[in-house]
Structures are given as C-alpha cells and as structure tokens.
C-alpha cells in the first residue's frame, strides 16, 4: 500500500516549470521536510497537494487513492490539512471561530437544519467545541479565544493557523514555513509542538522550512528542491552536506 506519494509530478506556468518531475513517498508517521532556495517550487508543491493548483503531469496518491482527481475542498475531507506561508486566517473572525471552521468537514447538518438550529445542530456544535478546546489547550491558545485575528500578534497567528489545521483532525499536516517570522524562543516552541503533533497525535508531517537547525531537529527525512527539481534526499545531515545543495545555497 502507498501511504502518500508523488509520482513524477510537474506543473508549468507559461514557460516556467515550477515543479519538474518530482517523485517521492512519505511513510505514515514521518516528518518529511522540503528545503530549497527561494522560488524553488516548495509552496507550489504544497498547492499541488492541496489541489489549489492542477498538476500538468503526474499523480499524487494518498492511501491508494489518486487525489489529483479531487477538488480543494475534498482534500480536507481526506484528512490532509495545511497552513500557509503568508498566513491565511479569517481575519475578521475570532480565534475560536477560526478553529471551528476547521471542524467543517465533521459537521453533518444540512442547510435547513442550520436555519432552525435544530437540537442536532446544537449537539454537534457542542462536540465541535470540545474538539476545538482540546486543540486550544494543546497549543495554549485559550486566552485568545474571543480575540479577533486582526488583533493578534504575528507569532500567535502562526500558532493559530497550526491550530486551525489541527482542528480538521488531520492524518497529514502540511506546514509551509512554520517558523518564518518567529523569534528564537517562538521557533523552539514551534519545534516542540511539531514533534508533539507527530509523536503524540500520530500525525504525518510534510514541512517546508528554511531554518536548518529546526529542520535537523525534527525531520526524519529531508528533500532539497531547486528550480522545481529534486537535488538531494536523505537525512538532514546527508542533504546538508550534499555538494549540489551547498552550491545552491552559496549561489554558485
């Protein structure tokens, strides 16, 4: 059985091959990190997985199902959650509401049931609330429960985005640069959470990250991308010392 795999995936924007023949697979429970210089195609790769972009060629498979056939909203339904490099929270909603949106795939009530707020809706809402409160407790977000996102500091928003993704109840979590814009202390806390999400909640993690100390600390395997192609793959040590990677980062 294939758990999660990209098979010869490419995408072309006009003349630019942003992702070019990328294949790899990720085992269940792994922390798999993608590194690479700016514009290497890392975010594009995530957008392909979460179906915001269509692949030009190739397949993406999750649990033996080809997810390249699905649309973006079905991806969450399969248990694949993500965060965004530039934070895409619902800015004019409270933190609590943001996390509750993550529960959307678990609600089974119909539109007309919502209109009349039938007892079933109320019961489900309480269930969602329980789930979300657990996430908040896990990430120590309770004190921001009713604060609008627009009023939260940047570092907290980063965490809220992880929380919203966790509220989905995912099997696979895609983190796009979880530490960008965070200070040293916040970064080390983020690293601990990533490890805990992986170990305690058993969630498989795909991560894009620039901070090499964070990468070496948490990753099981690392893939280095440049100009949309795979340069190297292996442990953090191996990839970091790979001559092509060194050259790419030194700009040679």
């Amino acid at each position: 059985m294939t758990y999660f795999a990209l098979e010869d995936v490419s995408i072309q924007f006009g003349g630019l091959k942003a992702v070019d023949g990328v294949s790899f697979d990720v085992a269940k429970g792994e922390i798999f990190t993608i590194i690479g210089p700016n514009g290497a195609g890392k975010t594009t790769l995530f957008n392909l997985i979460s179906r915001l972009y269509n692949v030009t060629t190739g397949r993406i498979v999750f649990k033996d199902e080809e997810i390249t056939q699905l649309n973006a909203q079905q991806i969450a339904g399969r248990g694949i959650a993500r965060t965004f490099q530039n934070i895409e929270l619902f800015d004019n909603a409270s933190m609590l509401q943001n996390l509750l949106v993550g529960r959307h795939r678990h609600s089974t009530t119909r539109f007309w049931e919502d209109l009349f707020f039938l007892p079933r809706v109320r019961r489900e809402e309480v269930g969602h609330r329980h789930a979300v409160e657990e996430v908040m407790e896990f990430l120590r977000l309770q004190r921001y429960r009713d604060t609008l996102i627009a009023g939260l500091p940047y570092g907290v928003r980063k965490v809220v985005e992880v929380g919203r993704a966790l509220s989905i109840g995912p099997e696979v979590l895609l983190l796009d640069e979880p530490s960008s814009g965070l200070n040293v202390e916040e970064t080390s806390r983020m690293a601990e959470w990533i490890l805990e999400i992986n170990r305690r909640l058993g969630i498989t993690i795909l991560m894009v990250e620039h901070d090499m100390s964070l990468v070496s600390r948490v990753s099981d395997r690392v893939l280095a991308l440049n100009y949309g192609r795979i340069m190297a793959m292996g442990t953090a040590q191996e990839v970091q010392s790979h001559p092509d990677v060194v050259a790419a980062y030194l700009g040679a």
């Binding site: 991806i75 969450a76 619902f90 909603a93 509401q97 509750l100 949106v101 959307h104 309480v126 009023g151």
Partner: protein, 373 residues
C-alpha cells in the same frame, strides 16, 4: 467592568448571550407590540417601513457582511416577493400560504442569481446583480398578463381565514416576520453555515482548504438573502396596496445597500439601526427644507438669502446629494456604521474610567499574497 463567566459550551450557543439582552430585547418587542395603542397611523406606518427595511437589511448583512458577496439588485427580489403577493391575493389565496411561498420562490431565484457569483468577485459581481435587476424590471414592465405592465397593479388586502388583515393586522404581521427573520439570521450565524460564510469572506483559498465547498455556500448565501427580501416584498406590497415597476429601481437597491453601510455591514443590530435611519431621513429632509431657509433668513437678515436657500434645497437631486455625502461620511469616519458607534459608546461605559481610545483601532493587516488563483 463586567466580566462574562462561562460555565459551559452551551452558553455560547444560545440565542441570547446574557440575561440582560433577553430583557432588553423583550422590552423592545413589548414596546413595539404596544405601539398601536399609543401611536397614530402615521407613526405605525413608519414603523412598518422600518421593519420591512430591517428584513431586507438583515438579508443583505448575511450576504455582504457575512458571506462577502455584493449585490446591488435586491430591489428585484423585493419586486418578485411583491408581485407574487399581489397575484396570489388576486386569486383569494390566504396570506399564510403565499407568504412562505413567496419567500421560497424568491430564494430559488436568488440561488440562480448566485450561480454567476461562483466566477465573479467584487465590482463584477455587483454589475451582474445590477444586470439581473434590470432584467427583472423589464420583465415587470412587459409581462402584462401577470404584472399589468407599467400601469402597475392594485394589491388586494391580505386575508387570513376569510378575515381581512387591517392596518393593525399588517403591523403585527410585520413584527412577526421580522422576529422570524432575525431568529433565522442568528441561527445561521451560530451554525456551521454561518462560519462557512465568514470563511469565504475572509479567505476563499483557506476556506476551501478547510473543506468548505465555496460554490455551495455562495449560492446558499444568495438564496437566503433573496428569500428574506422576498418576504419583505410581500409585506411591502400589502403596505403600499399598489405596486408598479418604477418602484423597484436601482435607486431602491442602493437604498438597501445604504442600510447596511450606515448601520454596520456585519451586524444584525446595524441592519435595524440603518433601517431606522433610512426611513427617518426623508421626513428629516422635509423638515430641514421647510425650516432651514427661514433660519438662514433670520441669521443673515436678508430675504434674498432665504429665497436662494429654499430654491437650492428644493432642487431635484438634493436628496441624492445628501445621501451621497452621508455614505462618504460613514465610509471614512465610521466604517463599522451606527452599530460600531453604539459598541464604542457601550464599551466606554463598561470600561469607565479605563477606556482606551485605541481599543477599536485596527492592527496593521499583513500582506496576503500567495493566493491560489
């Protein structure tokens, strides 16, 4: 300072958040119900219009304030509701049949209008809804067998169980429908549907990645908003007892948008405040037109200035000019509308003497690039 103590998740799900709000809205409702015993026919009439505008305003708040979709064609939905009522009443159908039917029919039309919303955003969507309103206006003028064309048609008084619904009856019906619409709106807002709306409004990309089916909820938002406006249309037809195509023009649609701009775009209370404002502005302008020239005359002491002022104020388009100025004023100085002002005053009293002027200042927004498509 007052603090809210939570003892369970249930509390956050209730229709009313605090006992105080139960009390204050209860008193308001009682006052409204008692009004006919005290107020004259003119004021009752004004309240009926406020209620009708409130219903439309709430429909628009859900659509624009919550789901983030624009419409400058809501007069058309009002027209569909109104003409449905007029025709049903003509054939002696009781109002308790055609009121919900008109709501459903208009909702269905709204759902259809929502379909282009899947591809259009912002100003382009506004233009599409405007085009729809023009089409409806044209149909009303041409489909003479049903609408009696440009001549307009009389609306028979509503009847319930063979009884005619008089002035009081209509008044209480308006209160009932308004309460119903408000309850539906609050239900939507506290349910997954309402959260899907605001997710779409704030970031469609993220909403889809959270599993929100954007097509489904955008069309829902249109259907819901249109359905509410259709209900208001039925009441409108009975209130005026005569309807014709030129009542449902772009100008009316713009008035509806003004309700929520002035009231506060994402607030149900704002819709009501905006409706009160919009209904009061007319008599207020009349008052100003009457009194201001004399005042100017008295101050300047010249009869010529007084004449000039009265001519100027009587010029056509003065009303539009004043409306325009009011909109600009609100957008620049109080983007959260009357409701925002209300919240600030309330917070000031609650926090006294610790009110910080920066409480409502918006933080810098971070860049949103990287949007898929």
């Amino acid at each position: 300072m007052a603090f809210k103590i939570r003892t369970g998740y249930e509390g956050d799900l209730n229709l009313f958040k605090t006992p105080q709000s139960v009390a204050s809205y209860g008193v308001l409702l009682l006052l409204l119900c008692a009004a006919p015993f005290v107020l004259g026919s003119y004021f009752l009439s004004q309240i009926v219009f406020v209620l009708i505008y409130t219903i439309v305003g709430i429909g628009l708040v859900l659509l624009s304030g919550y789901a983030g979709q624009t419409s400058i064609g809501h007069a058309a939905f009002l027209a569909i509701g109104a003409y449905t009522a007029a025709n049903a009443a003509k054939f002696g159908v009781p109002i308790y049949i055609y009121l919900p039917a008109a709501g459903l029919l208009t909702g269905l039309v709204g759902w259809l209008v929502g379909l282009p919303a899947l591809r259009l955003h912002g100003i382009y969507l506004a233009i599409a809804t405007f085009a729809f309103a023009l089409i409806v206006e044209e149909i009303l003028a041409r489909w003479e067998t049903v609408t009696n064309g440009n001549e307009g048609m009389m609306v028979k008084p509503a009847s319930v169980f063979g009884e005619r619904l008089g002035e009081w009856g209509l008044y209480y019906l308006c209160i009932g429908v308004t309460v119903f619409v408000i309850v539906i709106a609050v239900n939507v807002i506290r349910s997954p549907t309402g959260r899907a709306f605001l997710a779409l409004r704030d970031s469609e990309t993220a909403a889809r990645s959270m599993g929100v089916d954007s097509a489904r909820y955008k069309t829902f938002a249109f259907a819901l908003s249109a359905g509410m406006t259709g209900l208001a249309g039925v009441l409108y037809a009975h209130k005026l007892s005569f309807i014709s195509p030129e009542m449902f023009t772009l100008a009316l649609s713009i008035e509806f948008v003004m309700i929520i701009i002035i009231g506060g775009i994402a607030s149900l209370r704002g819709a009501a405040l905006g409706a009160v404002f919009m209904i009061m502005v007319d008599p207020l302008l009349v008052f100003v037109k009457d009194k201001l020239p004399a005042l100017i005359g008295a101050i300047t002491g010249s009869a010529m200035a007084q004449d000039k002022a009265s001519v100027l104020l009587a010029a056509p388009g003065v009303k539009s000019l004043i409306f325009g100025l009011i909109i600009i004023f609100f957008i620049i100085y109080e983007p959260m509308g009357l409701d925002g002002r209300w919240m600030k005053i309330k917070t000031w009293f609650k926090a006294f003497p610790f009110y910080k002027p920066a409480t409502f200042r918006r933080q810098k927004m971070y860049l949103k690039s990287e949007r898929g498509r």
